[in-house]
């Protein structure tokens, strides 16, 4: 991306335009990934706005009053628009009240509870998203947070309910167990990639499936199934293994939130201040230059996956030691997949991931309130989430909609188009 240097003819090629060695699906996937990670903050915000607008249309379309008003649209169009406005406004207000603060609530506790719920929900998203972000920056598309969360929950859960240990120690062991469980599970994918070159995307997806059925199986065994129950449910974890509540028993917010903040700080340090992170980033940007500089690329693959998996494992601990307290086969909900979105939205940076996690936590927490109060299906939240990612993946689209200038005059035209037209003409 030549910004200031006068290198106009490089694209068209009097010098060899260095064909990339690993030209293929993987290279293209990495290119797409980089595109998502380098688009500007403005694009992110615009993508969010755009997603809300389109979702607003869907909310209006699904609303019964709006449908009624649409029937006599040509007679009284004002009815239609006011009904549509009411529906969308109502839904988003309910979403806000359910996610941040509810001024209509009777007590202060009730008024601020939505915010704490948002924070609680965001914990697993932030933790898993941080791990995925490390992978993305190291050039690895880890789709396996779901499975890693489950394994973290299995390990933490077992330590939590099978042993009876003193306070602090019990929690500490359970949390470490969660990190180890998630780390080992992701390490399988890292090991296979390092040793055999197996594509981590495929391996982690498959490991997700294995994890889902593994927890189902375990919950049918004596060691895990609650005594006297026929349902796939474990005994509750011991009180000493639970994350302590931060704001007393009136709220669900637990210590895991502080753990998520600590993890974000740790990831920041790891990626921008440590020698290990330097290697991760080098491998992510240019593995063959990293290899030539003596970096053990295979070791990096393994380490990245294990660290990412540990963070996802901690996300599992937040579920089982913080909010759910029992192991079920739905313990990971869809946090593992939402975390991918969180990491992408946060541009794989710790601070960005933290806030993206909070945002998605808010959407999730507020979604329930929205459904309860206005009858707007909670699936709209999923649509918003999906649209956000869709738009972030296509920055030129967002720029076109908002009439933003193309990426800072990087001379994209000559660099991108020249080889393409050349090939086409050949």
């Amino acid at each position: 991306m030549s910004q200031a240097t006068p290198a106009p003819e490089q694209p068209a090629g009097s010098t060899a335009p260095a064909p990339r060695r690993d030209d293929g699906i993987e290279a293209r996937a990495q290119g797409a990934l980089r595109e998502m990670l380098t688009s500007s903050w403005l694009v992110t915000v615009c993508a969010l706005v755009l997603a809300m607008v389109i979702s607003g249309v869907l909310i209006a379309a699904a609303d019964a009053d709006v449908q009624d008003a649409a029937a006599y649209f040509f007679a009284r169009p004002a009815d239609f628009f006011s009904a549509a406005w009411d529906a969308v406004w109502g839904a988003y207000v309910a979403l806000f009240q359910g996610a941040i603060i509810d001024p209509t609530a009777s007590t202060f506790t009730r008024a601020v509870r939505p915010l704490t719920e948002t924070m609680t929900t965001s914990v697993p998203l932030i933790l898993a998203g941080l791990g995925l972000g490390i992978g993305f920056r190291a050039g690895m598309f880890n789709i396996g947070a779901q499975g890693q969360i489950i394994l973290g929950a299995i390990f933490a859960g077992y330590i939590g309910f099978a042993f009876d240990l003193p306070p602090v120690l019990h929690l500490l062991l359970a949390v470490i167990g969660a990190a180890v469980g998630g780390g080992l599970w992701a390490g399988i994918a890292g090991f296979l990639k390092a040793r055999t070159g197996a594509n981590e995307v495929i391996v982690t997806i498959m490991l997700n499936n294995i994890a889902i059925y593994l927890v189902g199986y375990l919950l049918s065994t004596k060691a895990f199934q609650r005594e006297g129950s026929n349902n796939p449910i474990s005994p509750p974890v011991g009180g000493n293994a639970e994350y302590p509540l931060l704001l007393g028993s009136g709220f669900r917010l637990h210590l895991g939130f502080l753990l998520a903040i600590a993890a974000a700080v740790f990831v920041w340090w790891l990626m921008s201040r440590s020698t290990l992170g330097f290697q991760f980033r080098a491998v992510g940007s240019n593995p063959s230059a990293a290899r030539t500089a003596g970096i053990n690329v295979n070791r990096v693959y393994l380490l990245v996956m294990m660290i990412a998996g540990s963070l996802a494992g901690l996300a599992g601990s937040a579920q089982i030691l913080g909010t759910e307290k029992v192991l079920t086969d739905g313990v990971a909900a869809s946090f593992g997949f939402d975390a991918i979105t969180v990491a992408l939205l946060g541009r794989s940076k710790p601070l960005g991931t933290f806030f993206a996690g909070l945002l998605f936590g808010a959407l999730r927490a507020g979604g329930f309130a929205m459904q309860a109060r206005t009858g707007t299906p909670i699936d709209i939240v999923l649509v918003v989430q999906s649209l956000v990612v869709l738009f972030i993946a296509a920055p030129p689209l967002v720029r076109a909609v908002f009439r933003l200038p193309s990426a800072g005059g990087r001379g994209a035209a000559p660099e991108l188009s020249a080889p393409v037209v050349k090939e086409a003409a050949a």
């Binding site: 991306m1 030549s2 910004q3 200031a4 240097t5 006068p6 290198a7 106009p8 003819e9 490089q10 068209a12 090629g13 009097s14 010098t15 060899a16 260095a18 990339r20 060695r21 201040r273 440590s274 020698t275 290990l276 330097f278 290697q279 980033r281 080098a282 940007s285 240019n286 063959s288 230059a289 990293a290 290899r291 030539t292 500089a293 003596g294 970096i295 053990n296 005059g409 990087r410 001379g411 035209a413 000559p414 020249a418 037209v421 050349k422 003409a425 050949a426």
Partner: protein, 526 residues
Amino acid sequence: MKLELRGITKRFGALVANDHIDLVVEPGEVHALLGENGAGKSTLMNVLYGFYDPDDGQILVDGVPVEFAGPGDAMAAGIGMVHQHFMLVPVFTVAENVVLGYEPVKGGGLIDLAEARRRVKEISDRFGFDVDPDALVEDLPVGAQQRVEIIKALSRDAKVLILDEPTAVLTPQETDELIAIMRQLKAAGTSIVFITHKLREVRAVADRITVIRRGKVVGAARPDSSETELASLMVGRSVSLGVERAPAQPGAVALQVRGLSVLDEAGVLQVDDVSFDVARGEIVAIAGVQGNGQTELTEVILGLEPAVAGSVVLDGTELIGRSVKDVLLAGVGYVPEDRSADGVVADFSVAENLVLDLFDQAPFARGISLDLAAIQENAERRAVEFDVRTQSVSDAVSTLSGGNQQKVVLAREMSRPLRLFIASQPTRGVDVGSIEFVHKRVVQERDSGTPVIIVSTELDEVLALADRIVVMYRGRIVGTVPGGTDRDVLGLMMAGVPQAEAEAQAATHHTVLGEADIEASEEESK
């Protein structure tokens, strides 16, 4: 056909790639377009060939203004282009490639291959090309593939042929054949636009020379201008082309390569039983046409690829079987052949790239924590020492020109005590001004007593730097000759001819460029 470009201007954003360029190509002349990488030569040709729309200016063919919406229009107007990277389908035959895109058809929509063959044969006979229409393109040597490209252009009745850096991939003998072809085409009335940055070739074939610098025509030159004059015009300041260096003072042998063999992924022997020595304080150049095992040889020494047999001993230590890290820490400095793929991490800052292989060593790391201040301080010092032109060492290295990126790689690899320095294609894609600098640093490294290996496909570079030359062909060493060996002998050896035979052949038949060398040295001695 007379081709005229008037006031061609092409902008990319704020960047003016071509700034009111005027160019007239008379019928039957060889017109050289000389300029450094990034000067705007290729942009201009892409405008001419219809890839880009000019922002201003016009193209005239025989005095009539024309507009090209794409290469098809340009071809129809009689303009043919031979790209630096050939646009051929490797698994097709020569005839199939030549007619690709406008195939002659016979009844039932079938391709009339007989007609295709006839066309190839006709052009090939007319110019004595000696190309078999039924040969598969992938089986042909590079020089012959280039001739297929020329046939392709001629078969579409090209009256103006644009050759984009045509000699970059050729051996000296192939270059010589190309020059002969260019003269023949010229005699037949075809005009040729010859894009290059190689001064020697320009002087050998061009009738007129237009020099471009930073998107502007900076002057015309006659072919009898000296190389130094041309270089100064191209760079915009006086440059010295030769490297001033004292004769080598070789010390004890430091590196011993014995019986080294390397297989590639397909199981083909890329390096075949190679043995040579390098002494302290000498530069050994490994010469050869691209793809004859030189790359693999250096990669094995660094530990990037495994060897199937042989040993590499540096100061008594075996390097084979060690990791890249260990080899680097043993004091090997390595400049990779493909800078953008293996040399730098494009979106890392200059400072980060300068410690790419030292980031975990003192003083750049304390334990597992990076010392950003030390990295910054190092970068500022190296940038000055190696004349890296950048606004800030925190800028991404991708914002630098090729020459400055190469200086970053050199600065990194030379910034620690070395026991062996290996540089592959140290000046590929580097501007003339920086070449001088790079060569000086390499000689300096030699003079400080380091054994140096230079791998280069450019004979000019080999001759400028080498104290001894090892010539490789198909993975084997054809011979080892002293530095300053006759260019024609080296050229023949690069094509696999053994040394004695090469010397005999070269004595009876000189290539154009070889003769130019001799003339130049005679002039000097006068």
